[in-house]
Amino acid sequence: MMVSSSAYLILSATIFTIGVLGFLVRRNVLVMFMSIELMLNAVNLAFVALSRQLGSLDGQVVVFLVMTVAAAEAAVGLAIIICLFRNKKSVNVDDFNLMKW
C-alpha cells in the first residue's frame, strides 16, 4: 500500500510542532537542544516526502546538507554546554540568568 505524501507532511508538521513545544516547555539545555534536532529532522522528512511526490532529487540533496550542518552545530553546541557546565555545574536554563533586562 502506498502511503500518500500528505500523510508524511502531516507527520512532519506534527514532529516540528513537538519540537517547538519541547523547546518552549523544557528547562534542560540538552533536551532543548534535542528539540531543535527534532525540528530539523521534521524538515528533513518533509523534504524527502516532497522530493518523492515531485519526482525531483533536489529535496534529497538538501537533506544531506541539513544533516551535515546539524552535526556541526551539535558539535559546537555540546562543547559550549560542557564549558557552561564547568562554570556552573548545571544544565538547567533557569540557572543561566546572569543577564536580565
Partner: protein, 476 residues
C-alpha cells in the same frame, strides 16, 4: 566555467586555514596573528574590487554588483573588528590565533551568502556564518557570562535555522525547485493560470520571515540580542551587531526581492508592522539601559526598524537606501563599539555612568564618541542624517506616511539615550583624570569610522552610486 568568480571567497577561506595552521605550528606565541588576518582581508578586498560579474553552477552562485557591495561591507566590518581585537587577544590566556581564523571563516560564509542564488546555498552559507560566531561569542570559556551568551546565541540560532528550513521546504513543495529564479517563474506561471497560489506560500513567507527575524533581531524575535551582546567579548559584539545584521539584510533582499517581489501584497504589510514594532520597542527599552553594550544592543534593534523602511518600500530606491544605510550604520555603530572597547580596556567598565568626565580625560575619544552618537540619531551633516533621509523618502514615495511618522517620533525618543552618553562625557565630572590610552590598531580603526561617518554625510553620492547599482540587480 569560470571559477575565477569564486576567487575572493576561496582566497579568504584558504587564508583562514593558513591562520589555523600557523597558529598550530608555531612555538613562540608572542606575535599577534591579527596583522596576518588584516593582510588577508586587504588582499580579498582587492580581489572583490577587480572581480568580474557573472554566475556559476546554473545560477546557484551570483557574482553581481549587489554581492560586491555587500562583500565590501563584510570585509570592512571584519577589518575593523580584527583591528579592534588586537589588545583583546593579547589578554587571552590561550587560543589567541584561532580567534582570527574563526572571524575569517564567518566572513567567507557571509560573502557566499551575498551571492546566493539558490535557497540551499543560502542555508548552508548562513550556517557557515553563524557556527563560527557561536564559538566566538563564548570565546572567554572561563567566564560564565561569555559562555551563557554563546549558549543563548546557539539555541536561538538553531531555532531560527529550523524555522527558515521549514519555510524553504514549503516553497520547495510548492514549486519543485530551490533556485530563486525558477521559484519566481514557477510561482508566476501558477498565479497566472489559477489566479491564486494558495495558503502554503503565505505560510512559507511567515516561516522564512521568522527565520530571518532572528538573524536580524526583529522585535518578537529579539530576546537573545541584549544578553548575547552583553556577554560576548566586545569586538565580537561589534561584529555581530553590524556584519551579522548586514548578512540578514542581504539574505532577506536576495530571497524576497529576487523571488517573491510579485507577491509583495502578502508580505510587505507584515514587514511594515515588524518595522514599527522594532522602532517603538527598541527605542523605548533602550531608554532604561545603564550598560553601554545593552544600550547599543537595543539601539541596534531600533536601527533595524529604520532599515526595514526601505524594505517595506519594495522599490529600487528602497533597496538602494537600505544598502546605503547599512554602510552608514556600519561606521557609526562600529565606531561606538570601538570606543566602548577602548574604554573598557582601560577602566574595565561598560557602565554609561563611568563615562563621566571623559571629555577631560581624553578629548579626542569623547569627541569621536559624540560624533558616532549624533550620527546614530541622524543629526545633519553626519552620515546618519543622509541615510535616514533616503530611507524615509523611499517609504514616503510608496505612501507609507504612518510608518515614517512613527520613525520620526521614535528618532526623537532615541535622542534622549544617545545624548545621555554625550551628557555624561561632557557635563558630568569625575575624580578620575587619567587619559584613555589606545594601541595603533585601535586608533586606526576609530579614525576609519570617523572619516566614514563624515564622508558619507557630506559626500553621500560616492556611495549612493554604488548602492544604486546594487539595487539594479532585482527586477521591480
Amino acid at each position: 566555467m569560470t571559477y575565477q568568480l569564486l576567487l575572493p571567497q576561496i582566497f579568504l577561506f584558504l587564508w583562514a586555514i593558513l591562520i589555523f595552521i600557523i597558529d598550530f605550528v608555531r612555538k613562540e606565541k608572542k606575535h599577534n596573528l591579527a596583522y596576518v588576518a588584516l593582510l588577508g582581508i586587504v588582499i580579498t578586498t582587492v580581489l572583490v574590487l577587480t572581480s568580474q560579474k557573472g554566475e556559476l553552477f546554473g545560477g546557484m552562485f551570483q557574482a553581481d554588483s549587489f554581492s560586491a557591495y555587500f562583500n565590501l561591507i563584510f570585509l570592512l566590518t571584519g577589518f575593523l573588528t580584527i583591528a579592534s581585537s588586537v589588545e583583546f587577544t593579547q589578554r587571552l590566556p590561550s587560543n589567541k590565533g584561532e580567534y582570527f581564523g574563526l572571524i575569517l571563516l564567518s566572513m567567507v560564509g557571509m560573502m557566499f551568502l551575498a551571492s546566493a542564488g539558490d535557497l540551499l546555498t543560502l542555508y548552508v552559507s548562513l550556517e557557515l556564518t553563524t557556527i563560527p560566531l557561536f564559538v566566538l561569542a563564548s570565546y572567554r570559556k572561563d567566564e560564565f557570562k561569555s559562555t551563557e551568551a554563546g549558549l543563548k546565541y546557539l539555541i536561538l540560532g538553531g531555532i531560527s535555522s529550523a524555522l527558515l528550513l521549514f519555510g524553504i521546504s514549503l516553497i520547495y513543495g510548492l514549486t519543485g525547485t530551490t533556485f530563486l529564479t525558477e521559484v519566481r517563474t514557477t510561482l508566476i506561471v501558477r498565479f497566472l493560470s489559477t489566479g491564486n497560489v494558495g495558503p502554503a506560500l503565505v505560510l512559507g513567507f511567515i516561516f522564512m520571515i521568522a527565520g530571518f527575524g532572528f538573524k536580524l533581531a526583529l522585535v518578537p524575535f529579539h530576546m537573545w540580542v541584549p544578553d548575547v551582546y552583553e556577554g560576548a567579548p566586545t569586538p565580537i559584539t561589534a561584529f555581530l551587531s553590524v556584519a551579522s545584521k548586514a548578512t540578514g539584510i542581504a539574505a532577506f533582499l536576495r530571497v524576497f526581492f529576487h523571488a517573491f517581489l510579485i507577491f509583495q501584497v502578502d508580505w510587505v504589510m507584515l514587514m511594515a508592522v515588524l518595522a514599527a514594532l522594532a522602532m517603538i520597542i527598541g527605542n523605548i527599552i533602550a531608554l532604561l539601559q545603564t550598560n553601554i553594550k545593552r544600550m547599543l544592543a537595543y539601539s541596534s534593534i531600533a536601527q533595524i526598524g529604520y532599515i526595514l523602511l526601505g524594505v517595506v518600500a519594495a522599490s529600487s530606491r528602497g533597496v538602494s537606501s537600505v544598502a546605503f544605510y547599512t554602510f552608514v550604520y556600519l561606521f557609526a555603530n562600529m565606531g561606538a563599539f570601538i570606543t566602548a572597547i577602548a574604554f573598557s580596556h582601560k577602566t574595565g567598565s561598560d557602565e554609561i555612568k563611568d563615562y563621566a568626565g571623559l571629555s577631560r580625560r581624553s578629548p579626542a575619544l569623547a569627541a569621536m564618541m559624540a560624533v558616532f552618537m549624533l550620527s546614530l540619531v541622524g543629526i545633519p551633516p553626519l552620515a546618519g542624517f543622509m541615510g535616514k533621509y533616503y530611507l524615509f523618502s523611499a517609504a514616503i514615495e510608496q505612501r507609507y506616511i504612518w510608518l515614517v511618522v512613527i520613525a520620526i517620533l521614535t528618532s526623537v525618543i532615541s535622542l534622549y539615550y544617545y545624548l545621555n552618553v554625550v551628557r555624561q562625557m561632557y557635563f558630568q565630572t569625575s575624580t578620575e583624570e587619567s587619559p584613555i590610552l589606545m594601541g595603533a590598531a585601535l586608533k586606526t580603526a576609530l579614525l576609519i569610522c570617523v572619516i566614514g561617518v563624515l564622508l558619507l554625510g557630506i559626500y553621500p553620492n560616492i556611495f549612493l552610486n554604488f548602492a544604486n547599482q546594487a539595487a539594479m540587480v532585482f527586477h521591480y
